[in-house]
């Protein structure tokens, strides 16, 4: 057996060997990392703002490759804030969650739903606050929901569910028909977008002042696609527009509406104007 090297010599040798290996692998690893990020297999590091907000344990977990576990735990925590109607905390939690998993459209959709629908509804009902404060907060939560939705769409441009949720906020809470129509319009053709968004785009365009003609043309094009589109609401909307735009009667439609199963039962899901929400 050869005489052993001293501990110091060994440490120097190990450091040298590690450095040599490190220098060799660094370019290779950087290339792989870029490749992984490009293919959405690897997430970019969480934003600095999110890191500042994270508790130490959450940060350690995140850095230790437990990103998804940490975010799942935070979602649970968010659910807790939701049950306690603690909207500020809920928003802060989702700030981190969406930063940890920016590619998960569910998180974006959830926070838009929480702030845009639940928090605003709570402000409509919460009698403990003075009227003006409730109104102020209603606006604030709705705008924050829109902000989340826009950031989510930036991260997941092909997401249908974030846009559906955003459309609901515009439609139900802010009653902004033009914006609602715009979002439904964006939804058309996205993977996973439901069929009804094509009709809804038209319905809300019809309610957007100044765009009635555009809405009429659009809905007529849908109508001409065939009997599958001859739904009662569509026909009713076209007929309303025909009246409004004073379309000459030979050009007006004469069709028997097709009854969809949804329409047979879902009287509760009907919007003013007879639009049925699936």
């Amino acid at each position: 057996m050869k005489r052993p090297l001293s501990q110091v010599t060994k440490i120097v040798l190990v450091a040298l060997a590690l450095s040599a290996f490190g220098l060799l692998r660094a370019p290779w690893e950087d290339a792989i990392r870029d490749d992984l990020v490009e293919n959405q297999l690897l997430l970019p590091p969480p934003a600095e703002s999110a890191i500042e907000q994270m508790s130490q344990s959450a940060l350690m977990g995140t850095l230790g490759g437990l990103r998804t576990l940490v975010s799942t735990f935070l979602v649970l925590e968010g659910f807790d804030h939701f049950s306690l109607k603690d909207w500020e905390e809920l928003r802060n939690t989702y700030q981190i969650v969406t930063s940890l998993e920016p590619r998960d459209e569910n998180h974006w959709r959830d926070i838009v739903w929480h702030l845009g629908i639940n928090a605003t509804a709570n402000m409509e009902l919460d009698k403990s606050l003075p009227e003006f404060e409730r109104k102020r907060r209603f606006q604030q939560y709705a705008l924050e929901a829109i902000d989340f939705a826009e950031r989510g769409i930036q991260q997941v441009p092909e997401s249908a569910i974030i846009r559906q949720q955003l459309a609901e906020v515009y439609r139900e809470k802010l009653k902004d028909n033009c914006k609602t129509a715009e979002v439904y319009g964006d939804l058309i053709g996205l993977p996973g977008a439901p069929e009804y968004v094509r009709r809804f785009h038209g319905y809300f365009l019809a309610r957007c002042p100044g765009r009635e003609q555009e809405a009429y043309d659009y809905l007529m094009a849908l109508f001409r696609e065939g009997p599958s589109q001859h739904l009662p609401t569509l026909i009713k909307e076209i007929q309303k527009l025909e009246e409004l735009l004073e379309i000459p009667s030979p050009e007006r439609i004469r069709a028997v509406p097709r009854q969809s199963p949804a329409q047979r039962r879902a009287s509760k899901n009907t919007l003013p104007g007879g639009i049925v929400i699936p």
């Binding site: 057996m1 050869k2 005489r3 052993p4």
Partner: protein
């Protein structure tokens, strides 16, 4: 006994650094000895005298600071040298999760044994160390003596020419100790070379052909056991059934000789160890006959 050398240690010195400063402890100091093939060689000395260090150098677990060590001509630590050695460390702890038979299988496979050859070898060794009944029991449930015996079986698994035993009976009760001693004698009969370390002189006395006495890292005396312990100018007579008259005549004869002197007279005593084993043996016999 052939003249081939099983172990040859030449001018071995081993120093250990202590602390951060350049201070050293000399564990073994210019030690030289040889173990001939086929003999039982005992390295004896008190705790801390350098026995285990010497042994580790021979095994290749440590490198000498100076000097050399070879096993059957191979440098210590060489994989071929290790193939010639079976080693039983002091207080061996094998994997507690393995049974006796599994332990032997594990070490056998490490030595390249396979199939029926390994199976037969395991059966033979379990029989040799009298652990056939405990073969399937996990080592966690073995007594100290049983562990030592399975350890001995493990040293023999690849049928090495040299068996190195470090304090083979340390902590083992007298019955177990006797069994191990008998096994060592058996190994000697079968032609194994045995190199053992011990601080129990009596044990070494019973099995070794040659001993080396090491103290503070240096070899103090070395040679065949008989030579080392013989008191050259004294003679011992042991008589059975001698009458007082006969004894008187002997005493007179001695007195009449000018140069001789009677140093001691009395009844020979058995050793405490022998007595214990005899009593234990009798108890066993009584139980069996009952």
């Amino acid at each position: 006994m052939s003249e081939e050398l099983a172990v040859e240690v030449k001018n071995l010195t081993k120093v250990f650094p202590t602390g951060l400063r350049k201070e050293y402890v000399v564990a073994v100091d210019n030690l030289s000895f040889e173990v001939k093939a086929g003999e039982v060689y005992g390295l004896i000395g008190p705790n801390g005298s350098g026995k285990s260090t010497t042994m580790k150098v021979v095994l290749g677990l440590m490198a000498p600071s100076k000097g050399t060590s070879t096993v059957f001509g191979y440098e210590s630590g060489d994989i071929q040298a290790r193939n010639e050695i079976g080693f039983l460390p002091e207080n061996p702890y094998f994997y507690k999760h393995l049974s006796g038979a599994e332990t032997l299988k594990f070490y056998g496979k490490l030595c390249g044994l396979r199939g029926s050859e390994l199976k037969d070898r395991i059966a033979d060794l379990l029989q040799l160390v009298d652990l056939e009944d405990a073969a399937k029991r996990r080592l966690g449930g073995y007594s100290k003596g049983m562990l030592q015996r399975i350890g001995l079986a493990q040293t023999l698994i690849q049928n090495p020419r040299l068996v190195i035993l470090d304090e083979p009976t340390a902590g083992v009760d007298p019955v177990g100790s006797r069994q191990i001693r008998d096994l060592i004698l058996r190994l000697k009969e079968d032609g194994y070379t045995v190199f053992l370390c011990s601080h129990l002189l009596e044990q070494v006395q019973e099995v070794c052909d040659r001993v080396g006495i090491i103290f503070k890292g240096r070899m103090r005396r070395e040679g065949p056991l008989e030579e080392l312990i013989r008191i050259e100018d004294q003679t011992e007579l042991t008589l059975k059934g001698a009458s007082p008259e006969l004894l008187e005549q002997v005493r007179n004869l001695i007195e009449s000789d000018g140069s001789a002197e009677l140093v001691e007279e009395g009844h020979p005593r058995t050793t405490l160890e022998r007595l214990f084993i005899r009593i234990a043996g009798q108890k066993e016999n009584q139980k069996e006959s009952a």
